[in-house]
């Protein structure tokens, strides 16, 4: 069987792998969005920009301080998480009592600032980021060639996603978090510092975006526009999956990435819009999203 549906298997599996990688990033980003939304009721429009900041921090660490990939993976996530903490403490916090739309508008403004500043400083062309030595090369699986780094990205983001799921659904801290999502006043009355928890949640959510940015740096080029390119698709993913469920966000992200990859093989012209079309269809059939609950 040298051809599958008239497509050489190399091309088919190559695109599927690319789809899986895109899907991993969708999953990581929509997971962060879902965690933040669950706790703060804010749609974090700055998520894409912070993903870009994560990639840039990694690149700056490498070019200016000589800190390599593995250090950057930790440091860049921490830096982005800290930025998130500061943003939450100084700005987002003031908006919890007004309409949720203002949170969206604020983070949109922040996204413009981040993207504009990096664009002003570094231009729109991408900066290359080398693959770390440990993950260079690849393996021939017989039906396709698997570059090690790409395999690593899929595995790493799956691990992070599942870890987050475990932390939220199965640990004590996660139980506090879920309880505070349902009823912050009551949880506060039990002596848990909810405002700190809210800040940490936002910090953690955007740290996931920063981590995704570092993971993405060697695959895509580090460019100021990388965030806004991906975030709108992630919004569509979130609408399709529904923001209620963590596992839903992961499954939908990966699934849509794969579907996008398949579209690239069979009908490349539609690959940019397939996610949006699916979103429209899902909204017509099941408005709350595949994993969402009708309120």
């Amino acid at each position: 069987m040298s051809h599958l549906f008239g497509i050489p298997p190399q091309a088919l599996f190559g695109q599927l792998l690319l789809g899986l990688i895109n899907g991993s990033f969708y999953a990581l980003l929509s997971l962060g969005l879902a965690v933040i939304f669950g706790m703060l009721n804010v749609v974090n429009m700055a998520h894409g920009a912070l993903y870009m900041v994560g990639a840039f921090v990694a690149w700056l660490l490498l070019t200016n301080a000589g800190v390599g990939y593995w250090g950057a993976l930790v440091l860049a996530s921490l830096v982005v998480g800290l930025v998130g903490l500061v943003l939450e403490r100084t700005m987002l916090r003031r908006l919890y009592k007004v309409d949720h739309l203002y949170g969206l508008l604020l983070t949109f403004g922040l996204a413009l600032i981040f993207e504009g500043a990096f664009r002003h400083q570094y231009g729109v062309s991408g900066q290359p980021y080398p693959i770390p030595d440990l993950l260079k090369g690849g393996t021939n699986l017989g039906f396709m060639y698997l570059p090690t780094y790409r395999g690593w990205v899929v595995v790493a983001s799956l691990l992070v996603c599942l870890g987050t799921w475990y932390a939220i659904e199965r640990t004590k801290l996660g139980a506090y978090l879920r309880a505070a999502t349902e009823n912050p006043t009551l949880v506060q009355a039990f002596g848990i510092n909810v405002p700190v928890m809210v800040s940490l949640t936002y910090g953690f959510g955007v740290a996931l975006a920063g981590l995704a940015g570092v993971l993405a740096a060697p695959i895509y080029q580090v460019s100021p526009l990388m965030g806004s390119n991906i975030i709108i698709v992630v919004f569509a993913v979130v609408v399709i999956g529904g923001m209620g469920s963590i596992l839903g966000a992961i499954v939908t992200g990966l699934g849509l990435g794969l579907l996008e990859g398949l579209t690239k093989v069979f009908y490349p012209e539609a690959s940019n819009i397939v996610v949006f079309v699916i979103m429209a269809v899902v909204l017509m059939v099941k408005p709350a999203g595949l994993f969402g609950r009708e309120k």
Partner: protein, 324 residues
Amino acid sequence: MTMQTQALPRTGMGTGSRKALLLGGGLLLALAAPFLLYPVFLMKVLCFALFACAFNLLIGFAGLLSFGHAAFFGSAAYIAAHTVKVWNWAPEFGLIAATAVAGLMGLVFGLIAIRRQGIYFAMITLALSQMVFFLALQLPFTHGEDGIQGVPHGTLFGLFDLNQPLTMYYAVLAIFVGGFALIWRTVHSPFGQVLKAIRENEPRAVSLGYRTDRYKLVAFVLSASLAGLAGGTKALVFQLASLTDVTWQMSGEVVLMTLLGGMGTLFGPVIGAALVVTLESYLASTSLPVPVVIGCIFVVCVLVFRRGIVGEIVARSGRGRKPS
């Protein structure tokens, strides 16, 4: 007519005549403006003012935040440019086609997006408009990155030669005044009252027997059509329809204009549009990055200035209503 606005306590005694005075003064100013300022700049302001007013009809009076209005604005620009340049249509028919297409798109978008409320509505409209962006990038008639350039001005109704900047200006002014009057009429009609009721408390509006989805859809189509009229006009004025007009940044810009001027006020979006257009043309001559400045204004507006300029004036002049 203004008695109907009593539902909002901000209109007290005598504001009706004050409003009329303001309108008359504004109109006089607009008529005299091309002799004082550069007409092309003024036309840009008017196009964006109409765009912002159309957007404000949704957010300010129906409580729907559309983050994808650039899709209507930009697509209508393409339609107007294509019909006038390639098909040699007269400008008035080009504009009608542009408005109609934008309205139809509004119908489709509306049918999909009003199935969800609040922030989901914003995300859905954003995603749909991004789809339109990719279509505009790929469809052959939009000419990708180049856009449709060199659209002829033509002659309006076979009478007015739009190659004359002054004639063009007054045509654009007439279009703006027409669009603004329609919005004014809509807001002050019983239909507008129902929209406000939906904005304030949708479940209550439903329990009163209103089919709120229908109202929201009609408002959405109307807003999309007027945004399209603005986009089509802009394409004729600048003889250009390009990808810039369909980007999400453009959607964000119209949000900012409305927010800055005052959401839910009739004149706010006009003032906001004038300010943002002025600011951008000023920034273009400096080395400051435009998005950063725009983003900062966004942040400041949201944090400390949620009523916007006109909203703030109304609130300060007594009898203010609380910010939402």
